[in-house]
Structures are given as C-alpha cells and as structure tokens.
C-alpha cells in the first residue's frame, strides 16, 4: 500500500457468512482495490451482491475473512441505508452527537455542546435539533443527523451505504449535495455504495462494480460508463436508463 497516497487498501479479501460450525459460506471472493486520500469511490451492484458485507468487513464489524485490509486512518465512520434504524430512538439528537466525543474522552462538556451545535449547522440543521428525538424528524433530517454523527469525530474515511435509497428525489439531491460539500471542506475519502448508477456518476471519480461477491469491473467512472465490459454493468446502466452513449 502506498501509505501517502492510499487511505484504504484491500488485498485478496475473501469473506464468509454464517457460524463457523454450520452453514458457513463464502460471500466475497478475492477482492482487491484501494482508495486514494480525498477520493470518492463508488461501489455498485445489485441487491445481495455483497456491497454491505464488503464495507462491514472493512469497518471490522464482520471479522470472518481472509486477506489483508489496511486502513490508513483512525475510526472510519459509516452512514447507514435506513435512517430509521441508525439513530437510537430513546436518545435526543444532542446526546447522540455528543456520544462519540464522550467515548473518546474528547473535550469538556461545554466544548462538546458547541461542537454539536456547529456540526448540526454544518449539515443544514438548526442547533435546536439537539433537543429533539429521532421520531420527531423526517427521513432526510435523520440522514443529516446520521452524517453529522459520523463526521463529528472528523474521520478521514466515510463509508456511505446507500444513504439516499430510502429518501424522496428532492431529499436525495440535498443529501448528495451535502456529501459533496463536506467532501470538499473536510477532504474526506468516501466509499459510496449504491445500486443506482446515476448517483454514482454525479458523485464518484472511480467505481467498482460487484456481482455475486466478485469485482466484475473497476475503473474511472467516465471509462466504465462509456465502454462497459461486464454484463452486470450493462444491465445496471440499462436499469438506470443510461445505456451506452445515453446522457442521463
């Protein structure tokens, strides 16, 4: 791994599901790729292709794997697909945002509160949202809070697992704009997972196309979109109404 250039390196990773005693099966096969610092990498594939398994393995949530994963930063963070299950329903937003800072013994209480208010404003929410419970927020607002909770620890690597798939088109656009803005401002490296190639085209520089646990195709977004090689890529482009040469 080129330490200076890459923030993440995945080499020959094979991932397994199920208990070790029964029904253990391989779900990801010999995956290798890297992510440069400050880059947005798209990971695209159909449902069940192994996208979420891949990122959970990178984050250390799934430990049943063989191969080498090197993460060049502390505490990479994740924004989840479902904004309704990713926030603790019994805690106020302020508490949720303060929690990572408390866990890592960062800053005094007053400073933490200020940081929470600042982060809420940064993701486009009023500081008063700190006093609300998740059930009082819309899906888009929840997703903004999830992004704020992930970024309050100033991670260098953010993994966004289909963060807009359950949102309406208007909110989807707002969240994507927010991610672009935060990427610019904070120099974040982002792995953006989606099954929608239109979103990948808007946001990412490079893309990995995954099918049945295998990387089918990888490269620059423009190249892949202009000359798709794998069948799965062609199928996904067709599904997004972006067949070769089409401008979506």
């Amino acid at each position: 791994m080129n330490e200076a250039e890459n923030i993440l390196s995945v080499q020959n990773v094979n991932v397994f599901h199920g208990s070790k005693t029964a029904k253990r099966r391989q779900v990801l096969f010999d995956m290798s790729f890297s992510l440069k610092r400050g880059e947005i990498l798209g990971v695209v594939g159909e449902s069940g292709s192994g996208k979420t398994t891949l990122v959970k393995t990178i984050l250390g949530i799934n430990n049943d794997y063989k191969g080498l994963i090197t993460v060049g930063c502390e505490r990479p963070q994740m924004v989840f697909q479902d904004p309704y299950s990713s926030l603790n329903p019994s805690r106020k937003i302020g508490w949720l945002l303060e929690e990572p800072l408390k866990n890592n013994n960062c800053y005094a209480k007053v400073k933490r509160r200020k940081m929470v208010a600042h982060m809420l404003e940064r993701v486009g929410l009023n500081a008063d949202y700190a006093m609300r419970y998740p059930y009082q927020l819309s899906g888009g607002e929840r997703q903004r809070v999830s992004i704020a909770a992930a970024l309050i620890q100033t991670p260098r690597l953010l993994i966004a697992d289909e963060p807009v798939s359950s949102l309406d088109p208007k909110t989807e656009k707002q969240i994507l704009e927010l991610l672009k803005k935060l990427h610019r401002e904070m120099g974040l490296s982002i792995i953006f997972i989606s099954h929608d190639l239109r979103i990948i085209r808007q946001l990412c520089e490079r893309v990995l196309v995954i099918s049945q646990g295998v990387i089918s195709e990888a490269g620059r977004v423009e190249d892949i979109f202009a000359q798709p090689q794998a069948k799965i890529t062609k199928r996904l482009l067709k599904a997004a109404g972006m067949e070769m040469g089409a401008n979506a």
């Binding site: 963070q77 994740m78 299950s85 019994s90 929690e99 059930y135």
Partner: protein
C-alpha cells in the same frame, strides 16, 4: 412514537393504585390504632365509629392492620421484583448481547431455575436460612430471574442487530456502554409491563407464603398473614377476611390495569 390518547385502563388502574398507595403512605406516619395492641374487650368487634372496619380475634383494629400489613406486602413485592429484575436484566442483557458460550451456559442455568416451582424454592430457602421477610424476598426474587432474563434476552437479540448499535460501536463505545446505555433503554417498552406483572406476581407470592406461615411472622401484619388468621372466623367476623381480601384484589386489579395501560402507552 408514544401514543398520547387517554387509556381507560391506565386511568382506572392509576386511580386504584394511587388511592391504595396513599392509604399505605398515611399508615407510615399514623394509623387509627396501634396495629399490634390487643384488647379483649373489642374481640371480633364489628364496624363502628371507633373501629371503622372492625377488630380481629385479638381485638386489634383491622383498618390499622391492613394499612400496615399492605405496606409490608408492598415492600416485600418491591424488593423481590428489584432483586429478581436486576439479576434477570443483567443475565438477559449479557446472554442476548454476547451470545455463544456465555448465552448457552447462563440460559441453561436459567432453564434449571425455571424448572423449580416457586413454593419449592421458598421451602428450600426457609429450611436452610429460616423463615422471614428476607428469606422470601431472596427466594421469590431468584424464582423471578428466569422470566426477566428471557424477556430482556429476546429484546437485546433483536436490538443488537440494528444499525444504531453498529454506529455506537463505530463511535468507540465499549460493550458495557452499548448494552446498558444504548440497548437497555430501548427494551423499556417491553420490560415495564413485565415489571408491573412481576410486581403483581410478587404480591400474590408473598401473600401465599405468609398465608402458609413461611413468610412474614406474627405479630407483624401482612395481607397473607391476616387472611390466614381470619379463615377460622369467616362467618363470625367476616370483615376480618373481607378487608385484607378486598385490599389484595384491588391491589392486583390496580396494577394489572396499570400494566395494560403502560403497555398501550409504550407501543411504538
């Protein structure tokens, strides 16, 4: 989202419990007569201005004894549930969260405890450490552990897979913090009605044990003890049975309705 509309069970249960608890609270400071003072002149006395609910076979004021006796029953029930629920919650949370060997070992111990009838458990404890309040608190409390452990375990198993738990782990929270600060508050909607039902069961268990003579010992009053003493004089002095009996029924009814109301209130 917590439902805010009025719930008739909650209101009726709340009123019954509030009235009974108020009477018990007053009994902490003042009772019409000393509950343990005997008086041959008032044996089996009926309701009168001096003794509103009559007297028992030793001439002791029934109202005063119910006021103090229900306190004893309530205190034993509260401590029993506290003891049983604390152990059960910790056991259920650990087994549900960690799974694997911890789950297998603790839940098999749980199954073994579950197989013991409460009465047998109490008799074993009484024969080993003697009868009394602390004995039944420990014995009934231990008998309650498996039910609380199972409820909490199943909730924790559901919750631990949710994204907010993964997010907490990524934010640097340790296992203890994830279990007790993140997950357990979210089991409250299931746990709270179970605690109230457990409380009812504890009242009945304490009353049963005291009725059998292995719970609260004379001359201290408790509802079960009073019923045991009254059974011989059922027709001669019916108030002796009716007053503690009705108090017990109202107490159970009140907390049952409250449990239903709380269940509806916490449905999300």
């Amino acid at each position: 989202m917590i439902r805010r509309e009025k719930d008739i069970n909650l209101i009726i249960g709340g009123v019954i419990c509030a009235v009974l608890l108020s009477v018990m609270a007053i009994g902490l400071f003042v009772t019409p007569h000393d509950p343990n003072t005997m008086n041959a002149a008032t044996r089996f006395a009926g309701a009168s201005g001096t003794h509103l609910l009559g007297c028992d076979n030793f001439g002791r004021d029934t109202l005063s004894r119910v006021m103090v006796g229900s306190q004893t029953t309530l205190m034993v029930a509260v401590l029993t549930v506290f003891f049983g629920a604390t152990l059960g919650i910790v056991m259920g949370a650990l087994t549900g969260y960690f799974g694997g060997v911890v789950d297998e070992v603790l839940m098999r111990i749980n199954d073994a405890l579950f197989a013991f009838p409460v009465i047998l458990m109490v008799l074993v404890f009484v024969s080993v450490i003697g009868s009394g309040r602390s004995t039944i608190i420990i014995a009934i409390g231990i008998a309650f552990v498996p039910s609380f452990a199972r409820i909490v375990r199943s909730e924790v198993v559901k919750q631990r897979e949710l994204d907010y738990v993964i997010a907490a782990r990524l934010s640097g929270a340790g296992d203890g913090r994830i279990i007790f600060v993140h997950i357990l508050p979210n089991t409250l909607s299931t746990l709270l009605p179970a605690l109230i039902i457990g409380f009812n069961n504890a009242i009945l268990a304490e009353t049963g044990m005291s009725y059998l003579g292995i719970g609260v010992q004379p001359p201290d009053p408790s509802l079960g003890r009073m019923l045991a003493e009254a059974q011989t004089y059922l027709f001669r002095a019916p108030l002796m049975t009716l007053v503690p009996g009705l108090t017990l029924i109202l107490l159970i009814l009140g907390f049952s309705l409250l449990s239903d109301g709380v269940t509806n209130l916490t449905k999300r």
